[in-house]
Symmetry: C2
Subunit: 208 residues, 2 copies
Amino acid sequence: MIKVLLYEDNDLLRESISSMVTLNDGMDLLGAFSDANKVEEEVKTFRPDLILMDIEMPGRTGIEATALVKKTSPETNILILTVFDDSENVLNAIKAGASGYLLKKYIANRLFSAVEEILEGGAPMSPAVAKLVIQSMQKPQQSTNYGLTEREKDVLVSLSKGNSFKLIAADCKISIDTVRTHIKHIYEKLQVHCQTEAVSKAINEGLV
Amino acid sequence: MIKVLLYEDNDLLRESISSMVTLNDGMDLLGAFSDANKVEEEVKTFRPDLILMDIEMPGRTGIEATALVKKTSPETNILILTVFDDSENVLNAIKAGASGYLLKKYIANRLFSAVEEILEGGAPMSPAVAKLVIQSMQKPQQSTNYGLTEREKDVLVSLSKGNSFKLIAADCKISIDTVRTHIKHIYEKLQVHCQTEAVSKAINEGLV
DNA sequence: ATATAAATACCCCAATCATGTGATATGAAA
DNA sequence: TTTCATATCACATGATTGGGGTATTTATAT
């Protein structure tokens, strides 16, 4: 029997999902709550295998709750049930530790298959959500290049590996003064003022 | 009609997939190749909407080919068909720009639904693959922390934003000499020797 | 009671970096 | 032809950083 907790602030929907879970032979609903403000205690009390989690709730959001649960009980699986399929909510929920992300319109059809998939080590997502996730991993192909030249990019890559100017010079087979010049131009184009800022920007914007 | 190219080095499998695609009313197979060594020209010639791509092929791998195609023709969708479901291949293929990742054992059952899903803006993945993808986004909860203390982490975060020692001091409300001490400890624990290396490591390993 | 770890602060010195200014060569664009 | 962008190299100065110490306070563990 899979021990399940449910967090959903809409009374009707909470009742409806509760019924679905209760009527399912393999699942045991231990609790259904309208907010996640005491989620830590509840997880400690009930030790659920799976949590069905809404995002928008009074007080603590489902994403914050997910992060908290994962911190105290990493083995608990969390399936997000929500109407939001925007990039920010999806990615934050997954980063917080969600095992799956099911849009509410699919609950009736796919809830049980999603739960099965999670327990088998999968990660159920609706197609649009999956697309968002993999897009977030793909470097923006040529969007914000900041007008860096090839050589400047070479230098930036070398810099991002943690090389000193001296090592960059050796790496690119140019003099250290040329490295300085390139670095100056990189700073102008990236609008930064030091190495760390440049490296940080380069990595976070997928330039390297 | 969806214009399709196929890359697969196994003759039998290539024939078999070719037949499937040819017999499908909505798809038009423009070419089927046993290696991807001339993929750039072929894409330029045939302008496909979709490429079915094996990973292991003589010469250029499907992952390298995917990156090349996406560079010259970003609007072309690429569906990976392979037997490999290890983390490295999956993540590299997706980073290279793949729109979906179908294991070969599922081809017979799921090829057309996967193609449909791609064209509708989705990202078809088998459950195990989806799990790998979202795991790669979730920060290791407390694994490789390098034994950094809270304060050291604060300093590292501030450093990673591109702040100078002076600004870090202001940020953390401590003296600049204390910042230097923390930085020294961070370097020891991360086994690096300068800011850029520390920032690079911090970002890439999810410490910040 | 006494180590031990963490956070704080200070000193010194050599190495590195930020910034400005100037110069040469090449190839493409106006 | 002349300008512009790119890539290269040089020099100088002051600021910042890296690596080496030492030291105090507080809290935790033995």
